[in-house]
Amino acid sequence: MMPRPCKSILKNTALVAAFSIAGWAETASARDHLYGALDNPDLLNCETQRWSSRPGEADKCYRALQSLEYPPLVRAEAFWALGDLQNANTAFQTAQNAEPENAEVRLRWGELFMQTFQYQEAYNLFAEALELDPENAYAHIGAAGALAQGDNGEEVNAHMMTVVENALAPAGARLRGLVMMSRSAMQQDRYEDAREILDEAQELAQENALPRMELNALEAALAFMTHQPHEQFVEAALAEAPGYGDAWAIPAYFADITRRYRECGEFYGKAIEVQPDHWEAHLELGVNQLRQNQVSIAREHVQIAYEGDPFNPKTVNMLRLLDTFIEDMQVLNFPDPPQGPFPTLELRLDKKETGILTNYARELAMDSINLYRERYRFEPKAPVIVEIYPNHEDFVVRSIGMPGVGILGVTFGYLFAMDSPIAHPRGESYHWGTTLWHEMAHVFTLEASNHLVPRWYSEGISVFEEWRTGPIPGRKIPNNVLQAMAQGKFLSIAELDDGFMRPTYEDQVIVSYMQAGLVFEFIDIEYGFDKIVDMLYLFRDGISPVEAIEQVMEISVRDFDRHFKQFIDIEYGPMLSSMGVWQEDHRASYAALEEENWEEAVAAAERANFVYPDYVEVDSPYIAMARAYSRLGDEENEFLTLQTFWEKGGYAPRALLALADRYIERDMQDQAHEVLKDVIWADPYNQELHVKLGDLYLERNQPKEALEEFRVLLALDPVDKAAANLRMARAYQALNDMDGTMEYLMTALDIAPQYRDAQMMLLELSRTTE
């Protein structure tokens, strides 16, 4: 293939659409209808057969076109239609060599690259076609489709409008443009706009005798999204093209992006019944089955997708993940055996992590399930499945099919997947306990609303639960969100979903998370928690958030926004007005620390804490202050500072471990225990934590709990193995388990025969048993 210069226009293809039409590629990978892009009569004859018959019935017609008597461009199309992409590519190359000035060759070659997910190459070809023929409407549409994989919305729209607003453009190209626009409108929940665009497209198709099966598939999707009957539109599409799998796959896509996974799976299943070689439908069906815990059948469909279309990187990623999933993951049910028809909880952990995370994940998951059951008046009707991945990219592929995306957890219904604490570098601020708590809340809000809860509502409740009932309660609002608050960037409640789905500035998603959490703080304080749950159940009937607020809270959205703003002003107004001062003092406290000016570090941190005493992120002024006190030798103030930091919800592991030491020194064992338990939810891989906690349990005569901590310590492959084994022996001794005691004591002595403490224990035991 001719080397092509790379114009780097396409960025991260895995990101959720930041602009209007990124979803286009979801179904663009199959060879679409020509919509009049080519006019060779023999080719069009085959095309007519293809779309009007069952899959495979037009193959004979296409095979005839492979003859050398046909132009290379027609042969390329024939190879492509028959699934022979390599020969199609070669034929396009030949066609280009034969007709270097023919824009159609580059246009169609570009479409082939689109099918093989090489969007940059595709764009380059569309751009070359436009150089040869600047008015080529199909090339404009192709360029828009390729650019839609990146984040260059303005260029996409420019190409699109060049065609759609040009009455002289070929009707087929305009129809393609309208199809893309209607899809985009639906992705943005702009159903009325989508309706208008589809009406225009239907009229255009009718006037020009263009195919309507894709329009009908979109009609079906729109009907589904707006809770109307959709089957008649699918039937119409299939009546026109009996082998048109997209008749179901397009509605399936929209079910997917709105988290209606049951319908999504059902629709994709129907798509492959209609069109068994719809490889993307196989893949998405597999992905969806994996969300619903059907691992074996999921793998079958992903494998079929791979064999049919090995070019799709999402398929390749998913296959790799499934191999990992099957080989490396261990399934643990709780209770085991179940006390009802199914276990309450199914944990899926990497085998390397079961010795470390099982007890902690179980404790947190069961606590959250029991709490949410009560709070959301919902009894789970299936086991809650929690998958924890030690490799972040595995988790992301499992969640959205493509690596490279910065998410921590994803909930699909009764199943959620999340990053393990080891998936992030130690020292980062990843708090896995909070992530688990957050995702578990999604399980309840999704299932209680039959998956019809709006995104902001579900996220808001999850954040609210983090703050109210999570492992480290307390509002935690990052610095960048405070700045956004100060700049008045919060959205109206009616538009809050846009902040998640269609962010317009870099931090808007996280700002929207925090705003949504604060909305529920506001509702809870001003109207009572029951209102939150009452509204949640209304979504089951397809009621919009605006209607739910008006119905349950008996207040208009405008008044709601106004009251919420007053709430924010009261809660954060004074702090936000001093934001600049706080930022300066915050910065100054760490700068002074760096300069070893301990007195100034304390003073600056004190000033910062006075303005905003609840800021307890890992760069909290409390941390700077405690370190400075420590360097000043002021142990009492160091202790008091660390204690305040922890009581306000601070979770920085090193600070909490230091606080636990201070508590132990003061014989405040209960507090030390609570602090150390909190470190588990932040950094369970910390060996020092398990030593301290296990020793504390032994001290408190809780040998069973001590044993569990020392087991985790051993699972972490500690540096000092002899000491870890001796601790195990001591815990077993406290449990009067001599076999266990001797097993671990002798392991310690095998590692370190001259280990005096272990020798003494052996001596003592030998005398006791004599």
Binding site: P425, M746, P753, D757, M760, L762, L763, S766
Partner: protein, 310 residues
């Protein structure tokens, strides 16, 4: 009277025949700091190493160089002198504490006047009689010295001596943290993983490597140094003793007990070498019996010492 002490009980069997004759010659060289904070850090490390070295060998076998005394001429003469004094059973340990440089071809350890080159260091090691000598170079770019002495990649040879460098190669040019952690290890019980109250090269290396990793992790920075260890026997070569381990006493009763315990410790090591020749249950049973006897002896020694105390 002064008690004689063993370098490391774990290598008792291997070293026992030559204990009475073998000597350990320790040389510590503090290079140029260039800035007061480095001068201070290097001095602190050198002093720690000196103190730890006194737990391992006679004072006359410890040589320490810093400032003007650490010139190439002085050092080459010193190494020639101890080479002449050493016999086949003796061992040498060299600590280089300071900065290094690498110009793409030659590594140099920075000292007043002409620097010590990688070739100088290789010659020094190769001229020592016997084998199992030890050199630790804590400087930046010291990996280049390692590559120069033992070769690179697949061409690297397994040297007859043990070499530790603070960096992977000559491209790691930032001033290093490895040296101060290596010096710390010599007096830190956390480094003594086999709990035999001595710190071996391997233990000190592991401790320092872990400490460097933690340092960079806590600072939230990518590590700019990756220490290397080459050669066999690092676990058996002790660098410091954390507490006195008696092997002789004027009290004949204690002396007898000490000898019995030494013999038992040797038996334990011998048993561990033979563990694959027996079932695990049999091994554990024998180990338990030996360790128990060793523990009893230790207790009797302590009791005797307690009753003998004024």
């Amino acid at each position: 009277m002064a008690n004689r002490t063993l370098p490391s009980l774990c290598c008792f069997v291997a070293l026992l025949p030559s204990l009475s004759q073998a000597a350990l010659y320790i040389t510590i060289v503090q290079g140029l700091g260039g800035q007061p904070e480095y001068d201070s850090e290097f001095t602190e490390s050198r002093e720690k190493i000196e103190a730890a070295s006194h737990s391992m060998t006679a004072a006359e076998n410890i040589s320490s160089f810093n400032g003007e005394s650490a010139s190439r001429e002085n050092l080459l003469k010193h190494f020639a002198d101890i080479t002449a004094r050493m016999n086949e059973d003796d061992r040498a340990a060299i600590y280089l504490v300071g900065h290094g440089s690498f110009d793409g071809e030659t590594y140099k350890f920075n000292i007043p006047g002409p620097d010590l080159s990688d070739t100088d260091l290789k010659n020094i090691l190769e001229n020592f009689p016997g084998q199992n000598h030890f050199l630790v170079n804590t400087s930046s770019t010291s990996g280049a010295m390692l590559e120069s002495i033992v070769g690179e990649g697949e061409e690297a040879s397994n040297p007859d001596y043990i070499i530790v460098s603070a960096t992977r190669n000559g491209n790691e040019r930032n001033s290093t943290h490895f040296g101060r952690f290596f010096a710390d290890a010599l007096t830190n019980e956390e480094a003594d993983l086999n709990k035999n109250s001595t710190v071996s090269i391997e233990e000190a290396f592991d401790f320092a490597t872990r400490s460097v990793e933690s340092y960079f992790e806590e600072a939230g920075r990518l590590s700019t140094e990756h220490a290397q260890l080459r050669g066999d026997g690092a676990a058996q070569f002790s660098l410091s003793r954390l507490s006195e381990i008696q092997i002789e006493s004027e009290n004949p009763v204690i002396n007898d007990l000490l000898q019995q315990r030494l013999a038992l410790d040797a038996e334990i090591e011998n048993l561990q070498l033979r563990r694959n020749q027996m079932s695990n249950a049999e091994y554990i049973q024998q180990l338990q019996a030996l360790v128990l006897r060793s523990a009893e002896l230790s207790e009797r020694i302590e009791n005797q010492q307690g009753s003998a105390a004024p």
